[in-house]
Protein backbone atom coordinates (compact mmCIF):
# COMPACT_ATOMS: atom_id res chain seq x y z
CA UNK A 1 0.00 0.00 0.00
CA UNK A 2 1.09 3.57 -0.62
CA UNK A 3 1.18 6.41 1.90
CA UNK A 4 -1.90 7.79 0.17
CA UNK A 5 -3.73 4.45 0.62
CA UNK A 6 -2.77 4.38 4.29
CA UNK A 7 -4.05 7.92 4.82
CA UNK A 8 -7.44 6.84 3.47
CA UNK A 9 -7.48 3.61 5.50
CA UNK A 10 -6.89 5.39 8.81
CA UNK A 11 -8.88 8.57 7.95
CA UNK A 12 -5.72 10.60 8.38
CA UNK A 13 -5.04 14.22 7.58
CA UNK A 14 -1.92 14.66 5.50
CA UNK A 15 0.03 17.37 7.35
CA UNK A 16 2.48 17.60 4.43
CA UNK A 17 0.28 17.84 1.31
CA UNK A 18 3.26 19.27 -0.61
CA UNK A 19 5.08 15.94 -0.32
CA UNK A 20 4.60 13.05 -2.77
CA UNK A 21 2.36 10.49 -1.07
CA UNK A 22 2.70 7.76 -3.68
CA UNK A 23 5.64 6.11 -1.85
CA UNK A 24 5.16 2.42 -1.22
CA UNK A 25 5.00 1.30 2.43
CA UNK A 26 7.11 -1.83 2.78
CA UNK A 27 6.88 -2.36 6.54
CA UNK A 28 5.63 -0.68 9.72
CA UNK A 29 6.76 -0.03 13.26
CA UNK A 30 5.58 1.75 16.38
CA UNK A 31 7.84 3.16 19.09
CA UNK A 32 8.47 6.51 20.79
CA UNK A 33 12.08 5.99 21.79
CA UNK A 34 14.03 7.56 18.97
CA UNK A 35 17.26 5.78 19.71
CA UNK A 36 15.37 2.49 19.64
CA UNK A 37 13.80 3.41 16.32
CA UNK A 38 17.22 4.30 14.91
CA UNK A 39 18.32 0.74 15.41
CA UNK A 40 15.14 -0.79 13.97
CA UNK A 41 14.17 1.70 11.25
CA UNK A 42 13.97 0.35 7.71
CA UNK A 43 13.57 1.75 4.27
CA UNK A 44 9.93 2.23 3.27
CA UNK A 45 8.70 1.99 6.86
CA UNK A 46 5.52 3.63 8.17
CA UNK A 47 6.48 4.77 11.68
CA UNK A 48 3.71 5.34 14.24
CA UNK A 49 4.79 7.67 17.07
CA UNK A 50 3.46 10.34 19.41
CA UNK A 51 6.75 12.25 19.23
CA UNK A 52 6.55 15.42 17.14
CA UNK A 53 9.84 17.27 17.51
CA UNK A 54 12.37 17.88 14.72
CA UNK A 55 14.47 14.83 15.50
CA UNK A 56 11.57 12.60 14.48
CA UNK A 57 11.90 13.88 10.92
CA UNK A 58 15.69 13.51 11.03
CA UNK A 59 15.36 9.85 12.07
CA UNK A 60 12.68 9.11 9.46
CA UNK A 61 14.72 10.72 6.67
CA UNK A 62 18.00 9.07 7.64
CA UNK A 63 16.35 5.65 7.64
CA UNK A 64 14.61 6.36 4.28
CA UNK A 65 11.19 5.72 5.80
CA UNK A 66 7.99 6.17 3.81
CA UNK A 67 6.08 8.25 6.36
CA UNK A 68 5.54 9.26 9.97
CA UNK A 69 2.07 8.57 11.41
CA UNK A 70 0.76 10.47 14.43
CA UNK A 71 -2.17 8.87 16.30
CA UNK A 72 -5.12 10.50 18.10
CA UNK A 73 -5.16 13.69 16.02
CA UNK A 74 -1.81 14.79 17.36
CA UNK A 75 -0.43 17.82 15.55
CA UNK A 76 3.18 18.40 14.69
CA UNK A 77 5.13 21.57 15.43
CA UNK A 78 5.45 24.03 12.52
CA UNK A 79 9.22 23.74 12.54
CA UNK A 80 9.09 19.96 12.28
CA UNK A 81 6.57 20.11 9.44
CA UNK A 82 8.72 22.61 7.58
CA UNK A 83 11.67 20.23 7.90
CA UNK A 84 9.46 17.32 6.77
CA UNK A 85 8.41 19.20 3.65
CA UNK A 86 12.01 20.29 2.92
CA UNK A 87 13.17 16.68 3.26
CA UNK A 88 10.22 15.15 1.37
CA UNK A 89 8.90 13.17 4.34
CA UNK A 90 5.11 12.60 4.59
CA UNK A 91 3.47 13.14 7.99
CA UNK A 92 -0.04 11.84 8.62
CA UNK A 93 -2.28 12.49 11.62
CA UNK A 94 -5.07 10.03 12.32
CA UNK A 95 -7.96 10.09 14.81
CA UNK A 96 -7.26 6.41 15.53
CA UNK A 97 -5.05 5.27 18.41
CA UNK A 98 -1.60 3.84 17.75
CA UNK A 99 -3.02 0.39 18.48
CA UNK A 100 -5.81 0.83 15.95
CA UNK A 101 -3.46 2.22 13.28
CA UNK A 102 -1.19 -0.80 13.67
CA UNK A 103 -4.26 -3.02 13.42
CA UNK A 104 -5.17 -1.43 10.09
CA UNK A 105 -1.60 -1.82 8.81
CA UNK A 106 -1.61 -5.45 9.85
CA UNK A 107 -4.99 -6.05 8.21
CA UNK A 108 -3.51 -4.67 4.98
CA UNK A 109 -0.71 -7.23 5.31
CA UNK A 110 2.02 -4.66 5.87
CA UNK A 111 4.82 -6.70 7.51
CA UNK A 112 7.05 -5.78 10.45
CA UNK A 113 10.12 -6.05 8.26
CA UNK A 114 10.57 -5.21 4.59
Amino acid sequence: MTVHDLALAISARNLTPEVDDSKEITCAYTCDLLSWVMSHGEEGMAWVTVQTHMNVIAVAVLADMACVVLPEEIDMEEESLKKAIDEGMCVLSSPLTGYEICGVLHAHQVPAHA
Partner: protein, 142 residues
Amino acid sequence: MEELIRKSYPVAQADYVSAGHASADIKRTLKQLGVGGDVLRRVAVASYEVELNLVIHSLGGELTLRVLPDQVELISADCGPGIPDISMAMREGFSTANDEARSLGFGAGMGLPNMKRNADTFDIQSTVGVGTTITMGFALPS
Protein backbone atom coordinates in the same frame (compact mmCIF):
# COMPACT_ATOMS: atom_id res chain seq x y z
CA MET B 1 45.58 6.27 0.89
CA GLU B 2 44.31 9.23 -1.13
CA GLU B 3 41.57 11.17 0.63
CA LEU B 4 38.77 12.12 -1.76
CA ILE B 5 36.75 14.23 0.65
CA ARG B 6 37.15 15.53 4.17
CA LYS B 7 34.41 17.53 5.88
CA SER B 8 34.16 18.48 9.54
CA TYR B 9 31.09 19.57 11.46
CA PRO B 10 31.16 21.18 14.90
CA VAL B 11 28.46 19.74 17.19
CA ALA B 12 27.37 21.69 20.26
CA GLN B 13 26.36 20.26 23.62
CA ALA B 14 22.57 20.02 24.15
CA ASP B 15 21.75 21.59 20.76
CA TYR B 16 18.74 19.40 19.96
CA VAL B 17 17.42 21.82 17.33
CA SER B 18 20.44 21.48 15.05
CA ALA B 19 20.97 17.81 15.87
CA GLY B 20 20.94 15.82 12.66
CA HIS B 21 22.22 18.60 10.39
CA ALA B 22 25.70 17.08 10.14
CA SER B 23 24.30 13.60 9.42
CA ALA B 24 21.94 14.98 6.78
CA ASP B 25 24.84 16.74 5.04
CA ILE B 26 27.00 13.62 5.25
CA LYS B 27 24.23 11.61 3.63
CA ARG B 28 23.77 14.25 0.89
CA THR B 29 27.53 14.42 0.24
CA LEU B 30 27.84 10.64 -0.09
CA LYS B 31 24.79 10.46 -2.35
CA GLN B 32 26.37 13.03 -4.66
CA LEU B 33 29.46 10.83 -4.79
CA GLY B 34 27.34 7.92 -5.91
CA VAL B 35 27.37 6.04 -2.60
CA GLY B 36 23.99 4.37 -2.14
CA GLY B 37 22.10 1.37 -0.88
CA ASP B 38 23.11 -0.46 2.24
CA VAL B 39 26.37 1.44 2.83
CA LEU B 40 24.67 4.83 2.64
CA ARG B 41 21.96 3.72 5.04
CA ARG B 42 24.45 2.31 7.55
CA VAL B 43 26.60 5.46 7.42
CA ALA B 44 23.47 7.61 7.88
CA VAL B 45 22.31 5.67 10.94
CA ALA B 46 25.78 5.59 12.53
CA SER B 47 26.46 9.27 11.84
CA TYR B 48 23.14 10.28 13.39
CA GLU B 49 23.78 8.12 16.45
CA VAL B 50 27.25 9.55 16.96
CA GLU B 51 26.05 13.11 16.33
CA LEU B 52 23.30 12.65 18.90
CA ASN B 53 25.82 11.22 21.34
CA LEU B 54 27.86 14.40 21.00
CA VAL B 55 24.72 16.50 21.65
CA ILE B 56 23.51 14.41 24.60
CA HIS B 57 26.70 13.33 26.34
CA SER B 58 29.65 15.50 25.36
CA LEU B 59 30.72 19.01 26.22
CA GLY B 60 30.84 19.61 22.48
CA GLY B 61 32.91 18.13 19.74
CA GLU B 62 33.41 17.59 16.07
CA LEU B 63 32.23 15.01 13.58
CA THR B 64 34.44 14.39 10.56
CA LEU B 65 33.63 12.61 7.32
CA ARG B 66 36.50 11.16 5.29
CA VAL B 67 35.95 9.45 1.99
CA LEU B 68 38.75 7.22 0.77
CA PRO B 69 38.73 5.19 -2.46
CA ASP B 70 37.82 2.00 -0.59
CA GLN B 71 35.93 3.20 2.47
CA VAL B 72 33.97 5.93 4.22
CA GLU B 73 35.26 6.97 7.61
CA LEU B 74 33.42 8.80 10.40
CA ILE B 75 35.43 10.26 13.26
CA SER B 76 33.80 11.79 16.31
CA ALA B 77 36.08 13.63 18.70
CA ASP B 78 34.83 15.51 21.75
CA CYS B 79 36.36 17.55 24.51
CA GLY B 80 34.98 15.56 27.43
CA PRO B 81 33.83 14.48 29.88
CA GLY B 82 35.04 11.02 28.82
CA ILE B 83 33.54 7.59 29.51
CA PRO B 84 34.61 5.92 32.79
CA ASP B 85 33.62 2.38 31.76
CA ILE B 86 33.51 1.72 28.02
CA SER B 87 32.36 -1.90 28.30
CA MET B 88 29.36 -0.72 30.35
CA ALA B 89 28.63 2.06 27.82
CA MET B 90 28.68 -0.48 24.98
CA ARG B 91 25.92 -2.56 26.62
CA GLU B 92 22.49 -2.32 25.03
CA GLY B 93 20.08 -0.58 27.40
CA PHE B 94 22.72 1.19 29.47
CA SER B 95 22.41 4.98 29.29
CA THR B 96 23.47 8.02 31.29
CA ALA B 97 21.24 10.41 29.28
CA ASN B 98 19.61 13.21 31.30
CA ASP B 99 15.89 13.96 31.61
CA GLU B 100 15.86 16.44 28.72
CA ALA B 101 17.29 13.84 26.33
CA ARG B 102 14.90 11.19 27.64
CA SER B 103 11.87 13.48 27.23
CA LEU B 104 12.73 13.70 23.51
CA GLY B 105 12.85 9.94 23.18
CA PHE B 106 16.60 9.46 23.46
CA GLY B 107 18.53 7.56 26.07
CA ALA B 108 17.45 4.01 25.25
CA GLY B 109 21.07 2.93 25.55
CA MET B 110 21.20 1.86 21.92
CA GLY B 111 23.59 4.46 20.49
CA LEU B 112 27.03 2.87 20.79
CA PRO B 113 25.86 -0.74 20.11
CA ASN B 114 23.95 0.52 17.09
CA MET B 115 27.03 2.31 15.73
CA LYS B 116 29.10 -0.85 16.17
CA ARG B 117 26.43 -2.94 14.46
CA ASN B 118 26.23 -0.64 11.44
CA ALA B 119 29.94 0.03 10.92
CA ASP B 120 32.39 -2.46 9.40
CA THR B 121 35.11 -1.32 11.80
CA PHE B 122 34.53 0.43 15.13
CA ASP B 123 37.04 1.86 17.56
CA ILE B 124 36.41 3.86 20.73
CA GLN B 125 39.04 5.54 22.88
CA SER B 126 38.16 7.56 25.94
CA THR B 127 39.94 9.28 28.78
CA VAL B 128 37.95 10.77 31.65
CA GLY B 129 38.55 14.50 31.85
CA VAL B 130 39.96 14.60 28.34
CA GLY B 131 37.44 13.24 25.85
CA THR B 132 36.25 10.44 23.61
CA THR B 133 37.17 9.58 20.03
CA ILE B 134 35.11 7.16 17.98
CA THR B 135 36.33 6.01 14.57
CA MET B 136 34.09 4.02 12.26
CA GLY B 137 34.85 2.59 8.85
CA PHE B 138 32.41 1.51 6.14
CA ALA B 139 33.81 -0.50 3.25
CA LEU B 140 32.81 0.71 -0.20
CA PRO B 141 31.96 -1.94 -2.79
CA SER B 142 34.76 -2.18 -5.34
